[in-house]
Subunit: 306 residues, 2 copies
């Protein structure tokens, strides 16, 4: 692979930014990578572990002369960061982001950017339940999807260059319109996260079932929910506040369906339950065939030895 951008600035140094850094180094995709985080402790950690070629003490300094700037902060912090860096952006630079919501980011960031930069919002669909500068790794995006959400009048050359970067990082690249992105993600990510958070909260609340029992016996299914319910609280608060309508719509459908199944349980309608549970198996097979999950039992947690 060869260098796609001479200088990349990562604003915010959490799981996604740090994984991008290691993946760009692995692929030799960037000349120099600068980084900035609002917290001094995060900047210190980044310097200690060699995250970024140069860690800067201000966002302005980090973006100076960069030909790609990637905003890797929670969606709710995007607007302030955009305002802060705008006067310091180089002519012809591309500004992108990695936020989980796209319409809100476009509205928050777009108006602050000068006309001489290319703004190409993006969302890599990858992550783990861990967060912070030390949680990143080079293989995070391998065979995952990165969705680019070009706004009207996007320069094809700038779009192509950002596409090549993400492909070099290991991802498959799609483009999508912002509102459609937000709906698709409400289904595949935002509603599932809220549901997982809710179930874990309910288990935590129960007085007759002690914490210790919930924890000891979690391997019966519950523990699968606790992984995504351990994700970064600030990031997820912002996702729900900025993708409100689509998330509430999907949650409304979820509740309808849940009530129908509860009714089937109450009335003893085994046929309804069996048919429903049979149908849901097919989606899992599709996901495995598409290379988006492992077929190893239990996500491969246990080594299956006969």
């Amino acid at each position: 692979m060869s260098v796609v951008y001479n200088r990349v600035a990562l604003i915010g140094l959490g799981l996604i930014a740090s994984s991008m850094f290691w993946a760009m180094k692995r692929g030799g995709l960037a000349g120099e990578v600068t980084g900035y985080a609002r917290s001094a402790a995060t900047r210190d950690t980044a310097r200690r572990i060699g995250l970024c070629d140069r860690v800067c003490d201000t966002a302005a300094e980090a973006v100076k002369d960069a030909d790609l700037v990637v905003l890797c902060v929670p969606v709710g912090a995007m607007e302030q960061v955009a305002a802060e860096i705008a006067p310091h952006l180089a002519k012809g630079a591309t500004v992108s982001d990695v936020g989980s919501v796209k319409r809100a980011v476009i509205e928050a960031v777009g108006p602050h950017l000068p006309p001489h930069v290319h703004f190409i919002p993006a969302h890599p669909l990858a992550g783990t339940e861990h967060s912070g500068p030390e949680s990143g790794f080079a293989t995070l995006f391998d065979n995952r999807w990165c969705i680019l959400v070009p706004v009207e009048g996007t320069d094809p050359e700038a779009l192509d260059r950002l596409t090549r970067l993400w492909q070099g990082i290991g991802a498959n690249v799609d483009t999508m319109e912002a509102d459609h992105h937000d709906l698709v993600l409400a289904v595949t990510s935002h509603a599932p996260h809220l549901i997982a958070y809710t179930m874990v909260g309910v288990a935590d609340d129960l007085r007759r079932v002690t914490d210790s029992e919930v924890i000891k016996y979690s391997a019966a299914g519950f523990r699968d929910f606790t992984r995504i319910a351990a994700s970064d609280p600030t990031m997820w608060r912002d996702v729900f506040l900025t993708n409100k309508e689509a998330t509430l719509e999907i949650l409304g459908r979820f509740t309808e369906e849940l009530f129908a199944l509860q009714r089937a349980i109450r009335t003893g309608d085994g046929d309804h339950l069996h048919a429903y549970f049979t149908r849901t198996r097919a989606i899992r097979r599709g996901i495995i065939e598409a290379g988006q999950d492992t077929d190893a039992p239990d996500f491969g947690r246990t080594k299956a030895v006969r």
Copy 2:
């Protein structure tokens, strides 16, 4: 390890029975293991892969002279199997099961058994999304919990022997009262499974979001739900029909909590969301410290390479 039972009969040859077989062989815990499955195809498969020392064509033949009989069929099939084997049980034999619900199994099986056998219901909290005779493996129960639910007047010696078998298989053993078991499992297993089935069904229903999008972009969270929603439909139908009250109670609490979070999203109450999402992180840490899940990012699906 040494032989705990001279002859063990496994009735039903799915994931749990086959894993018990391989684990008993690994530990040298049983003299001879016989097996029976209602379906001739399953019996043929078992013979082909060497599952059980002897596969019998009737349940009566399988339990003859067994000192341990384990019912490994869906909860809804327990009563018929109990009636079928009852006349053929050896004096002093122990009859156990592996059903996910305990009160209903006690009521279904207990009345059929002759007074000269020990009935000790059990529930190993382990499984994968795969099912059938070929899905079992020896390590399935390692460091998982097996809950024994002794009924009134259980012989301590028989209880101790069954405990030693499960420990030899790799499990930690607890005892619990039937109704409490059913409530704990409603929280840690039954409600989470129904919720996962529901979310996967909703995604499948959505017309604006095509199947292909739901599948392609599933790594953003949704795919975690599809694993448990791929579990055996018959087994789970029976679980919900036989642990109706506890499951509906937990689902009622879940819905209350979900509505409170939906309201916080609608009204923009970020503090409520942030506090809730922070609290749920602690449970995951507890589960990892208790050795009940892996701390590797993403359940260890991805090899984290820096």
